[in-house]
Amino acid sequence: MSAAVNKEPVAVVGVGQTKHVAARHDVSIAGLVREAAQRALADAELGWADIDAVVIGKAPDFFEGVMMPELYLADALGAVGKPLLRVHTAGSVGGSTALVAANLVAARVHRTVLTLAFEKQSESNAMWGLSLPIPFQQPLLAGAGGFFAPHVRAYIRRTGAPAGVGSLVAYKDRRNALKNPYAHLHEKDITLEKVRSSPMLWDPIRYSETCPSSDGACAMVLTDRTGAARSPHPPAWVRGGAMRSEPTLFAGKDFVSPRAGKDCAADVYRQAGITDPRREIDAVEMYVPFSWYEPMWLENLGFAAEGEGWKLTESGVTELDGDLPVNPSGGVLSTNPIGASGMIRFAEAALQVRGRAGEHQVDGARTALGHAYGGGAQFFAMWLVGARPPSR
């Protein structure tokens, strides 16, 4: 890789999201995305005219039944006369979209970029949208849960994790969501017993250990050093960002801990100068659509040794007041507008280091990781944000 290029530092100066719900019957797709974009602009105290380019992402177009919806959304996103770029990398798309936008600033192609991701799942049925049978290819088997459950079973068998760990994650994330006004699920009467006794869907994944289907959008305003200096609130600085992909199906693939995830995290830590993620990172927003993916990703991302992730979860380390809070926002388990879910992780990480996460703020968070994955656990996108700008 060439080190000759001096990249522009990238700052997050605006974050906006909708209140995520099962069905936003009151707004069109255009109305939904505009709501998030306007909140991000308001946070940055900028107007549409301050935006040089728009980068938009969402998961499959089949979910809303609109082919390449960015064309229809150009007006609602204030993109007319500007560059409008559409990204699609399956479930990781929200993260990838933010990284593509960040690169526009880092490469000094544009100074201030609006990036947005959305999903309006109520327009269709996501489970069946993912289950179209194709000859000679492995279908996703009754939605994502059917695809991922065997990998969870493999994790449990490999590590000897006790059966209740998944329920602990769901119970924690749903309680965290109560502190997040934008979260979809606000289960005020949640108890661990309720999670444990919820119906089994795809063994060992229970109903309460799965993500909901949400309508929602998330937007961020990214800018350069000059733009950050004008920011009315503390910016979050992008200290590292990377994407990695590997094939869906091949004999050497480790579905429990994909190498693409490990490589992606290693690249981000290298860029950010992180040598001990467990000690140096204050908060993590990771993509956990099924509860067991918390311990699995703790290992994949280098926070725990192989086989040890479930011990961190079980000992309370990942609780909001723990040593390494994971998904203080409530995570994907509480809010899942699929195309936006990755960007929400990135945005929540930014809110943490900006000190603007409200009731779910992690005290003194200075460094936070945003993580997204997609496809058959094959696409990964991550960024690490900090309260301080990069030194060089």
Partner: protein
């Protein structure tokens, strides 16, 4: 703008474009092109710094269709990779930005589309405003015909000129072994007036791939790299009622930002699927008679969805590689009636 480093197109490959490829999956369509473009540079998948692709789930008829193509790329060990749900020209743009950051020195860009499994005119209606327009199912030819009618009414062109554009394009395509419709043919009957069969692009399947490289790496991989002097893209409102269909301000602005007007170009590869759209683009790009337009035959000779725009960049670059052009313009479009447009300016070093 003055980019931080020079980036060039160093290799290009495409399929033969055909009306149907029932015997091939998308991955099988794409694989030979990936091998060919890598062979031209001597690079292997593992040598590439960044990979980006363009395709559409709606053409494939299934969600996450691009994931299977990635298996064909051979993404092991894992690669830095991304995907745009649109024409590969925009994937090339994303890759160009990535190279400018210095995080990669080479990029593989590919795109593909099979239109044959469905009824393309119906499929494309699904990219319109889903609440007010799509329910009426106005198809892509009907929308292009509205644009053509507006041009004729404005006195910008007439039917004989459109027929000449179509004939010239397909005559040029005789020299293009990949073209689907080589050789001029009868203008044909009206499909949707004033557009006749001859004014419309063929429906077909195809794929294309490009390798980008920065600085000295480009010089090492290619005898005469096609340097990207500028590249920009702009979008217009979606609603046809709020646009002047006889003009393309987004193309003009993108060309200006790409530096197209700083010096004349000798070649232009325009992504104009309908003959009438070449009239709009020529005006927006201020192309004089001296400019060789679509020597490949353009989209009127082969229009594989999601690849046709990337092919314009590839064809322009290939002419520079061969020493047939010194400064070429490449254009790609997306959306109904030229809603979104990308312009790249490519140059070869003086030989």
């Amino acid at each position: 703008m003055d980019p931080a480093r020079d980036v060039a197109v160093v290799a290009f490959a495409q399929t033969d474009h055909r009306r149907r490829t029932d015997e091939l999956s998308e991955v099988e369509l794409l694989m030979p092109v990936l091998h060919e473009v890598l062979d031209r540079t001597g690079l292997r998948t593992g040598d590439i710094g960044f990979t980006c692709s363009g395709s559409s789930d709606y053409l494939a008829g299934r969600a996450f269709s691009f994931t299977m193509a990635l298996d064909g790329v051979g993404a092991w060990p894992p690669i830095a990779e991304s995907h745009v749900e649109t024409d590969g020209a925009w994937a090339l743009y994303e890759a160009w930005v990535k190279l400018l950051t210095g995080e990669a020195d080479t990029a593989l860009v590919y795109s593909y589309g099979k239109s044959s499994p469905g009824d393309l005119r119906s499929v494309l209606t699904r990219q319109l405003d889903p609440y007010y327009v799509a329910p009426l199912w106005p198809d892509s030819v009907a929308l292009a015909a509205l644009q053509a009618r507006a041009l004729i009414d404005a006195g910008d062109t007439d039917e004989p000129e459109l027929a000449r554009i179509a004939a010239r394009s397909r005559e040029s395509a005789r020299a293009n072994p990949h073209a689907q419709l080589p050789g001029a043919r009868d203008p044909g009957e009206y499909v949707v007036g004033p557009l006749r069969t001859g004014d419309c692009p063929p429906v077909g399947d195809g794929a294309a791939a490009v390798v980008l490289a920065a600085g000295d790496t480009a010089r090492r991989l290619c005898a005469r790299p096609a340097w990207i002097r500028g590249i920009d893209h702009r979008v217009e409102p979606h609603g046809l009622g709020v646009r002047d269909l006889t003009d393309s301000p987004s193309t003009r602005l993108a060309a200006e930002r790409a530096g197209a007007f700083e010096r004349p170009v000798d070649t232009a590869e325009l992504h104009a699927p309908f003959s009438s759209q070449e009239v709009v683009l020529r005006k927006a790009l201020k192309l004089g008679e001296a400019v060789r337009v679509n020597p490949s035959g353009g989209a009127l000779a082969a229009n594989p969805m999601m690849a046709a725009g990337l092919i314009r960049i590839g064809e322009a670059a290939a002419r520079i590689h061969r020493g047939e052009s010194d400064r070429a313009l490449a254009h790609a479009t997306s959306g109904p009636c030229l809603q979104q447009n990308l312009v790249a300016v490519l140059e070869g070093e003086p030989s």
